[in-house]
Structures are given as C-alpha cells and as structure tokens.
Symmetry: none
Subunit: 220 residues, 2 copies
C-alpha cells in the first residue's frame, strides 16, 4: 500500500526493527525515519526477514508535513482536557482512506507526538485501550493500525491538504462574520473542523464545499 509509515524520533533501535518486521508481514513497504536513534544490529535483529525495509528506509532530519495529501497522527492517550480535536479509531481511518499520498506518523516511545505536531496532522488516530494502562509498545500500535488498514483497498480520490486548509479558512471567514463571541467562534470553528476531518473528504467533495462556503461568505 502506498502509505508512508513515519516514525518520528524513535528512541529504541529494536523498535525500529520490530516495526519493519510487522510492516513487511502486513505488506507495507515505505518506512520513513525522522531524526531517529541510530539504526544498529539490534534493529536488524528485530527486523528478522524485513532487513530490506530497514535498509531502504528514508531517513530525514525533519518531517515533510506538506508533501502529503493526508498526514495521520497517532496518539496513545486522548488529551481529555483538550476538547479541540477529535480522535478516530483505526477502523474509522480505514473507512476514510482514499487514493492520495498518506503518511501515518507514530511518535516517540517516551512521549508520543507533541501537541504542536498533532496540530499539524489532518486527523488523529487513537487505538481504544485500557484506562489502566493505555500506552502501547510502538510496534504493537503499528501492527494494529496496519492490520486494520490492510483489510481493504482505498478507492476514494482524497482531497489535498491544501484544499482542506483553504476550506477551513473559509469556515473561519464565515464564522468571523456572524455575531458570536470570540470564544464561541473558536469553539464552533473547531467543531466544524472536527466533523470535516473525520469525514475525510474526496477532492470533489472539498471542491463542492469550497464553492458553497465561498458563496455563503459573500452573503453573510
């Protein structure tokens, strides 16, 4: 599947290998390592027969946020106090996958993705886990997400991230013109953004909604 599996600052050489193994088990071939710990013999040991994936992994200094149509962030812990973003399950993600260029980003073993990094993601995927012990091993998270995605092929022609950003800016512009308090405007915008992100728009849908909201903006 043409999806980049991105490990952002992985801290354990062994985990990189485990991730490569399960990627190959589940037919995913593109591993991207952003500012990783050293790739060692331990990495190759855990990779077993997936050393080729480790060897051809792209190593980058920084995450290329803008080179994807959709960047999916992952998080082990729902930030309950942050009602601003909504979380989708791996199953939701599968149902909404389309044809564009997609990255699924897994954060550091110790502290996952930062708030700021999650903010840059088009949607956030969370595996439903036990309240007692929600933090999964990195390669287990990858295993579950890829297993779920592997269940079906994407069909939809995904909207590009730029289209979604433009649409979200339009929402902002429309809401700005309505007589709500500043706080309320922010909340409404966030709810609307969540709904749109959760539905993972196709190109066509994004274009139709953009046209509609341009017209609305001209009128309100």
């Amino acid at each position: 599947m043409p999806v980049d599996i991105v490990l952002l600052q992985p801290e354990s050489p062994g985990n990189i290998g485990s991730v490569a193994r399960v990627m190959k088990n589940l037919s995913f071939g593109n591993l991207v390592l952003v500012n990783p710990c050293p790739v060692t013999n331990e990495t190759k040991g855990f990779a077993m027969h997936a050393r080729d994936l480790v060897e051809k992994a792209k190593i980058k200094k920084e995450m290329d946020w803008d080179s994807y149509d959709l960047v999916v962030g992952t998080t082990g812990i729902k930030v309950g106090k942050n009602p601003l973003r909504s979380y989708i399950t791996p199953e939701d993600l599968r149902k909404r996958m389309g044809k564009g260029k997609v990255a699924i980003v897994f954060g550091r073993e110790s502290r996952g993705l930062s708030k700021r990094e999650l903010e840059r993601c088009g949607c956030i995927c969370h595996i439903p886990t036990s309240g007692d012990y929600p933090v999964m091993n990195l390669s287990h998270s990858v295993a579950i997400v890829l297993y779920e995605l592997g269940k079906s092929k994407p069909e939809k022609d995904l909207a590009e991230q730029q289209q979604i950003s433009n649409l979200e800016n339009l929402f902002k512009g429309v809401i700005e013109r309505l007589n709500y308090s500043q706080d309320k405007k922010k909340i409404i915008y966030t709810y609307l953004r969540n709904v749109i992100e959760r539905s993972i728009l196709s190109k066509k849908e994004a274009s139709i909604l953009t046209g509609l909201f341009k017209k609305i903006r001209g009128r309100v």
Copy 2:
C-alpha cells in the same frame, strides 16, 4: 474479557513480557503459560507496567484442552495441503464469540502449533499476512487478535436521526437561497449530506452545526 490467552511453549522470555503488556493495554487479564521457557527479568522488562499479569499468570505443564467451551488455535501459515480445516480471520472470530469459557492459543515462536494441536482446536484463526513474509512476531499476533476482539460498540452520544434530518433541512434552506441552478442545488445538498452522514455526528456536534446554519440561513 474472560478469555484465557494461552502461550503454548513460548521460547523467548521477552516475548512473554510483550504479550503481557499488550494484554493489559487491551484489557485482557488472564495469561496462561504452558510449559514455557523461564520467566526472567527480561520478561518483566518487556512487560513494563503489566508485571502483575506475569506474576499472576497460570503456569501449566500441559494444555487443558477439555476445560474450555471453545479453544481457538492460531496460525501464521495456512496449511494449504490440509483442506480439512478452514481458517477464520480475527474479525470473524469476534463476530462469533459467545459467552462460554474461551481459550486463544498461540504456539511456539519457532514453529507455531503442531498439526495435532491445531486438530484439537475448535477453530483456527489466521491473520491475513503477506505471502512474502507471513510469520509475525508472537506479541504482534496477540496484539492484533486482542485488538479485534476488544472492539465494542461506539460510546459516543450519537445524534438522533431527527436532529440530523433537521440539520439536513437547514442545509437545504441555505442552499435554496443561493443562486445555483436547481440541478446544482441538488448535487451540493447531496454532497454535504454525504459528508455529514459519514462523520457520524454526536448530539453536541449536531446541535452546534444546527445553531451555525440557522444563523447562516438568517443572513443569506
């Protein structure tokens, strides 16, 4: 969930710990070790905050085949030459789980469950994997099977159908007031409706969007 996770002759102390961790992550508590390798500090290391599961694991010399209502065997490789047994996916397994006492048995890292052991199982579960490299790490297999079994009903406070219908009528009202051709109005309405239905709104989201579109309708 009252299911025994049975590792039959596990060979790597670390894997036992990894399995315990992912069991606790996914809210499974009963670990059974049949004729295992020694449980070591490495086991506890990999178990992280699931050491309690390792400590209370039942250790047995032999598998108690007859003390369960259903014993589910697992295998990484479909034995093509043995057409007598059929294989079910983890998803099939979930759909078929009932209320009885169930064991899910995972075999040795090196060679899985024997033909004879699989023969004694009530059904055999196989995770769909790549033909290139089908053999998964033990704890990854456990992660995927338990993730699938743990899937339950959505907890979200879903919007009622009436709320959705009202919201969709509002969309219609707004679009009606914009200068599109009748055909185009119908198309736009349908797209918007698709997006909304796909995102499965909560009560709160439906209410926020209803408020927003009422305001917009008043203005356009």
